[in-house]
Amino acid sequence: MAGGKQATAKRAMRWSWNDPHLRALIWQIGALAIVVVTLWYLAATAHENLSRQHIATGFGFLQNTAGFGIVQSLIPYSEEASYGRAFLVGLCNTLLVAALGTVLAVALGFVVGIARLSSNWLVAKLAAAYVETLRNIPLLLQLFFWYFAILQPLPSPRESLTLLPGVFLSNRGIVMPGIGLTGTSLAFFATLIVAVLAALYIARRARARLLATGQRFPAVIVNTVIIIGLPALVWLVGGAPFTLQHAEMGKFDFTGGWRLLPEFLALLLGLTLYTAAFIAEIVRAGIQSVGHGQTEAAHALGLSNGQTLRLVVIPQALRVIIPPLTSQILNLTKNSSLAVAIGYPDLVSVFAGTVLNQTGQAIEVIAITMGVYLVISLATSFAMNLYNARVAIVER
């Protein structure tokens, strides 16, 4: 822009149609006005029609008693709670499956994507078969497959399979012993957090020292000792505050203990395996975008295969991987709304399903639900964009 500085320098805007700046401004204001008026018109029409048909409007219903049960809730919930509370229960369930699904899908996607490029014929072909099968079957069918074909035919609770001592698999899901918490166990968790923070700090310092002086510090070993040792010490000193609560067989089903519902497992499996297939392709494309010369150069420097991948290829591949990966994470979150088909109480099932039906306030309920997905997606996208900015090529 060096030469054109004078030409584009600020000058008074002329009030003339011949002024391109003024023209552009008028077009933009006009376009914005059309958008606003259209939205306003749609909202006004909807409002008219609602009042004409005597349909209740407003958000007051959120305070009314819900009166129905929800099979899985991360926050305290009972039938006497409000619709607003039921909304939060559904939201937590959606966030739970989306967060776990994202972590698992990204991990599996990286493994499969790297495996597709493996020089081992069998590993590469298995990975390719996985990707081509899973990403080409509709997700809803996969969910039905996991739920109705795999998890439902499992034996009943009385004949359940014992995976580990105290861990049972049946058509009611996976039941495991719960951990009873007492006062001193708070100290345990506090220590755990402190230990993790300390480990992160040590890892940073070790890396800084390596870069500055070339001296190695066995950070991995030290950190493992800290993370396991410190909380274990507190646990012993505190008099082993955990009590295992074993699940017991009741009249119909296990009672007590912790439980993973089959609906949750089917949804998590379906979302993870489906999305991982797409992520694997993204990872493969990203790795292949890094020139082979880089790998050869790294090998020439004496780096092992693993080091080459970790230190040379992946950091460059990430620039290509992150933007489409963001889309896949967003897809996974939005696809979790298929939960309603297999009875998992997510936001759409609880709020846009049962609550909508009992209050009949479709516009409000759907607006809130859409708003929530929008906020979740924008927040995810924002976080991923920040990360992308960090790994992007920094021009000097």
Partner: protein, 374 residues
């Protein structure tokens, strides 16, 4: 020397999305802001304090239906005895017969009706938005549906109550033994609420597993995911038939709720509401007066003034509805009287085998009682 876009322009999509979302939400908030609508072309503005403009002009629905040439009737996605398609796509059932009766009353031709299969979850939105003219879909008459959802119920076509189905092998013989059980049901119905009320009232615990579709709820019960399946008692009898092995299951004796099922219409068009309501009443009155699908034409000459009024020989009650004189003759001729509808679809000679019980005429000890046509 690529310039980085400013923070403001990078944030613009987020800010814009949030603004639009917040604006939409604000618009539907109750309060003074809510009713300030922009004047919409050709429609009066509702000002705060003034009564809302009159609902659809009288007869809007009837005119729309006549112009379209058929009645759009909302039915279930498949419930034997009530509304169920066979392998050729032909619908049968007591709710379907009622749709036919309305079409016959309006057009004199019971084939001028189209069925729209609806989930429990979608049925009310479909009626509110005008996708269907009448919802005849084993729907329970409740206060909130009648008031805040903006509907009017035309009457009761089937007196039902919610029950439970369990596997015989479980050894359960009473609902009182269901403490701690997992129960499958369809989402978006009164059953979820009744279930919660019943278990709270009995001080028992339960886990509910609601599915969007009946078939999925039933399949989950059949495979043992749930200990019991709950819906209206008529539905239990009907759905037992489609289980893998019906004889292994039994319906528990307890009925835990009142479920008066009936057809409903949008609030705000009294004429259409009257047509649907009086079609139902005519079918019930016809049974009481001994008018059937086979004798309806001879009965026109009946000496009984009640029969003569209903069948249009005396007076013109059809005109008051905006219909022809023969409205009731056509409706009864098409599907028979209420008793015929009941016996053909759900009665003791059908696979469902449901006795009349509460659904017998009032003079036979049941609850079926329709106001007189006069």
């Amino acid at each position: 020397m690529a310039r980085r876009p400013s923070l403001l322009s990078r944030l613009f999509p987020f800010v814009f999305g949030l603004l639009v979302g917040a604006g939409t939400l604000y618009f539907f908030m109750p309060g003074p802001g809510a009713s300030v609508g922009k004047p919409v072309q050709g429609q009066p503005v509702a000002k705060a304090g003034q009564p809302a403009p009159a609902a659809q002009p009288q007869g809007a629905t009837l005119a729309t239906v006549r112009e379209r040439g058929y009645v759009q009737c909302g039915v279930s996605t498949g419930l034997p005895g009530f509304s169920n398609p066979d392998d050729k796509g032909v619908w049968t059932g007591i709710d379907v017969d009622f749709c036919k009766a309305v079409a016959a009353a309006v057009f004199g031709d019971e084939t001028k009706v189209k069925y729209r299969p609806l989930n429990a979850k979608d049925r009310f939105t479909a009626l509110q938005s005008g996708e269907v003219d009448v919802l005849s879909r084993n729907t329970t008459w409740t206060m909130s549906r009648d008031t805040s959802l903006g509907f009017n119920f035309a009457g009761v076509i089937y007196y039902d109550g919610q029950g439970f189905m369990v596997k015989k092998a479980s050894g359960i013989t009473s609902a009182a033994q269901l403490n701690g059980a997992t129960i499958c049901t369809q989402t978006g119905t009164t059953t979820e609420l009744n279930l919660a009320d019943y278990f709270r009232g009995q001080n028992m615990t339960y886990k509910v597993l609601p599915f969007e579709k009946n078939e999925e709820a039933l399949s989950a019960y059949d495979s043992g995911r749930c200990d019991a399946y709950t819906t209206d008692a008529s539905g239990l009898h009907a759905q037992k038939l489609i289980l893998k092995n019906p004889v292994e299951h039994m319906v528990l004796p307890e009925v835990i709720s009142k479920e008066p099922l009936g057809p409903l219409v949008r609030q705000g068009d009294p004429q259409w509401e009257d047509i649907v309501r009086w079609t139902l009443f005519a079918l019930i009155d016809a049974e009481e007066l001994g008018v059937t699908s086979t004798n309806v034409n001879q009965m026109k000459a009946s000496p009984s003034p009640e029969v003569r009024r209903m069948l249009g020989t005396e007076g013109d009650f059809g005109q008051a509805l905006g219909l022809s004189k023969n409205w009731a003759v056509d409706a009864i001729g098409a599907v028979g009287n209420y008793g015929e509808m009941f016996e053909r679809n759900v009665g003791v000679k059908t696979p469902l085998g449901i006795p009349r019980g509460l659904n017998a005429l009032w003079r036979n000890g049941g609850l079926m009682y329709a106001p007189p046509i006069r």
